[in-house]
């Protein structure tokens, strides 16, 4: 992350001058800085959600300042840096139990101030994605993942891609809306394996 701060510091003029479409860009840098200051002043720690959560890391700072549209060379650098954070399982197995993955995908809990420490977090997947066709209540913020494995197979390359994507979505899209589930510690290695299986196991309902 320090690396990215440095990167950002080197190009403030370029960033400020890049014009992008999108509502975030209506916000002036001064207003943005004031907003961050106001939040630091007006927000308080509650439960497991400490005030440290308002400290933006380098990626968040860049996405905020560029309205989620960093210049391409910077996006590439961010994506490479984020990909480097992905830790693959020591046993080399990337697919776990799709049934455990399905119940994880259903759960929307975890990491809020009303969640208790020490209880496993949910994957929040159905909040944004369609997966198993039996689940009618799914969100559309992310693309549909129905038939994901049926369409792409489950070769080692695909497994590696899906594992990496869930672990750190920013490795493939610098300012993606999707959380970095592995990098942030929201999901464990086993949980991510189970979600990989939900998408890629031929027995998973999404691939039926």
């Amino acid at each position: 992350m320090k690396k990215m701060f440095a990167l950002f510091a080197a190009f403030p003029l370029i960033l400020a001058s890049v014009a992008h479409a999108g509502p975030a860009d209506e916000v002036s840098p001064v207003a943005r800085a004031r907003a961050v200051e106001a939040m630091k002043r007006d927000f308080q720690a509650k439960g497991i959600a400490g005030e440290d959560r308002l400290v933006q890391d380098g990626l968040q700072a860049i996405c905020n300042r560029t309205g989620n549209h960093p210049p391409e060379y910077m996006a590439k650098q961010i994506e490479a840096d984020q990909l480097a954070t992905v830790k693959f399982p020591a046993d080399g197995k990337l697919m776990g139990d799709w049934k455990a993955g399905e119940s994880l995908a259903q759960s929307g809990r975890g990491m809020t101030w009303s969640d208790k420490a020490g209880i496993p977090n949910g994957g929040n997947c159905y909040n944004c994605h369609q997966i198993s066709p039996q689940e009618l209540s799914y969100g559309t913020i992310g693309p549909t993942l129905k038939s994901f494995g049926k369409l792409r197979g489950n070769s080692p390359e695909i497994q590696k891609y899906v594992y990496s994507k869930i672990s750190n979505a920013k490795a493939f899209n610098a300012c993606s809306d999707m959380p970095r589930f592995g990098q942030s510690g929201a999901l464990t290695e086993k949980q991510i394996k189970d979600l990989v299986a939900l998408l890629l196991d031929p027995a998973s309902p999404t691939n039926k």
Binding site: S28, M39, R53
Partner: protein, 292 residues
């Protein structure tokens, strides 16, 4: 007996369909979502069928809103002489002059010279409880958000006050520099990504035609969506069986963003409300909504 206008039904419908994005689980958490033992329909058809079904559900909920129970309690609280000074809130200045309650909510948040800051309706009621009735700050901040079993006095009072603006057009003033400042602050905060999930308000409410699970997400960077969504709060939420105020709504959005808690009545929360209210200018306010 106060009669609800028939239009409330239409209103509740429209707003529940756009603004009921997030909620805590119902107290009695249904295991739920074990749908369709029957053969799954093709994705597109299933979506249309589901969406249509949800719309039908909202329509069938109709216009009987338990928020009326809150309104009735709030009216008693408003008119009752209370607090160390033993006076009622009837002379509270909600922005249209002392003692004017009708329509006042629709013209908030606004700058109040006597407090030298921008206040939303709940902040202003609290201000009156302190200045008119003599309650201490600790008293009024003790328990702003109630539960289904024990609603808070603020939920009752806010429900009563906002209901008196039924039929008014949302029109918060924007001429004062501090009102402009609050709008800009709210707008900027809307886009700040932080926390373990890298979320901002805009993550869920910055794009057209998205939904979480089956709940439609208004794109709150657009005036049209604010005009539909903003008047949908305060609301009685059936999933929590209680009325939630706008202060709560903003608080819960940040909870869902995995952020620390924005302080009750703080400049930040009032700025978010100001942003949405100004964006919603021109919408008709039809009273507390009824939502999932």
């Amino acid at each position: 007996m106060k009669q609800l206008p028939a239009t409330l039904a239409i209103f509740a419908l429209a707003f529940s369909s756009i603004a009921s994005a997030q909620a805590t689980k119902p107290a009695k958490a249904p295991k739920a979502a074990k749908p369709a033992a029957a053969a799954p329909a093709p994705a597109v058809a299933a979506k249309d069928e589901t969406t249509a079904g949800i719309e039908k559900y909202r329509e069938m909920l109709g216009d009987d809103n338990p928020a009326e129970l809150y309104e009735a309690r709030g009216e008693i609280l408003w008119k009752q002489a209370r607090g160390p000074k033993n006076v009622s809130l009837e002379q509270c200045d909600l922005g249209l002059g002392a003692g004017v309650i009708k329509g006042a909510y629709a013209q908030t948040p606004r700058y109040f010279a006597d407090a030298d800051r921008v206040m939303d309706i709940e902040s202003r009621i609290v201000h009156c409880m302190m200045t008119l009735q003599g309650f201490s700050e600790a008293d009024v901040r003790k328990r702003p958000f109630g539960s289904a079993d024990k609603p808070s006095e603020m939920e009752d009072l806010v429900t009563y006050v906002v209901t008196q603006a039924k039929g008014a057009k949302i029109a918060p003033p924007t001429a004062h520099p501090k009102e402009k400042e609050a709008f800009e602050l709210g707008q900027a905060m809307f886009h700040v990504r932080a926390g373990p999930y890298d979320f901002s308000c805009a993550t869920c409410h910055g794009t057209d035609d998205k939904r979480i699970r089956l709940q439609d997400l208004p794109n709150l960077t657009k005036a049209a969506d604010n005009r539909r969504a903003y008047p949908g709060w305060p609301a009685y939420r059936v999933s929590t069986s209680q009325v939630h105020t706008m202060q709560w709504r903003i608080n819960d959005c940040f909870r869902q963003q995995r952020m620390p808690e924005p302080k009750y009545l703080s400049e930040s929360v009032n700025a978010m409300i100001t942003y949405m209210a100004v964006m919603a200018t021109g919408a008709e306010y039809k009273g507390p909504a009824l939502k999932r």
